[in-house]
Symmetry: C2
Subunit: 193 residues, 2 copies
Amino acid sequence: MGEWLPSTTYALLGLLDFFDELSGYELRKAAEGSLRFFFWSPAQSSIYAEMRRASAAGLVTSRVVPGTDAPDKRLYRITDEGRDQLRRWLEDAPIEPMVVKHAVALRVFFGHLARPERLRALLEDHAKATEALLTGLGEVRAGLAGDDRFRYPDLVGEWGERYYRGDLEGTEALLERLTDRGQGQEQEQEGPG
Amino acid sequence: MGEWLPSTTYALLGLLDFFDELSGYELRKAAEGSLRFFFWSPAQSSIYAEMRRASAAGLVTSRVVPGTDAPDKRLYRITDEGRDQLRRWLEDAPIEPMVVKHAVALRVFFGHLARPERLRALLEDHAKATEALLTGLGEVRAGLAGDDRFRYPDLVGEWGERYYRGDLEGTEALLERLTDRGQGQEQEQEGPG
């Protein structure tokens, strides 16, 4: 095995390692509460595809638990081999360059061609989305608090808070600058409220 | 035309709009000094492919300037139609979700399986890379200063500084926490320096 699996495979193996066993649905929920802040939240279908591949490679095992009132469900568990591969990835795999694709920043870059009201709306929406993300991150961290098993996820969550606060502060500072330059047009005659 | 072109096409059209005309090489240099901080820095080959497509769609024109001591070069210029399409994209195109893929944060998440020295090294390298990126961004902004044509790129640069400082502060705080918990082992006997 000279080649590395996709990062998503290791991310899912790592999530499984925090728990005894998880269904595909639980794995997706765990990813949404963690990976989405700094990485990528895989779709349910791609989680099942990853688990099939990991199973074929001996990195996970699974068993089907018959449902009583609910449908049967398959539970996945990381194997010793899976854990070894995960450790090896952490130790030796090359670090992929960081990727940021910031659709709003890209548009502001060409702001001389946009209506000022459009720019403001984009920035205000982005600020709200970032605030919502920070709220979500705070809720996730509150759920991890005090559980030493999740010490590292909590540390990454703290990092994420600084990271996204930097984005939010930048967005707010930019909105202020656009207002200072008098780009925001007052709409004084909107009729009776 | 009910569909949108890839964001990269608009990004390159937008760069062309700042200048009279640019060669493919100059376009790549302009992208590296701007798009790479918040978006994506396209390869030279994909810039030529994008320009061929934009040319076929009437969004850019080009002319070949014969070289005297250097090879001939093709210069690209945005058309009025290209500028119209760019304005329409800024006004109406849906905003793609922000993408962050942070390879180091992903690994720290599973830090309980990694050697503490490996985690420290990853974080220290990431801090250095972020500092270098901030230095690069500062240099780009210094080059734009006072030129009103580049007012919006400069504002995005200021935003980027807050954004990446948030990342850097988070990285440094995390390194401190790992040290506080006594994970860093002193190496007192390394032999004579």
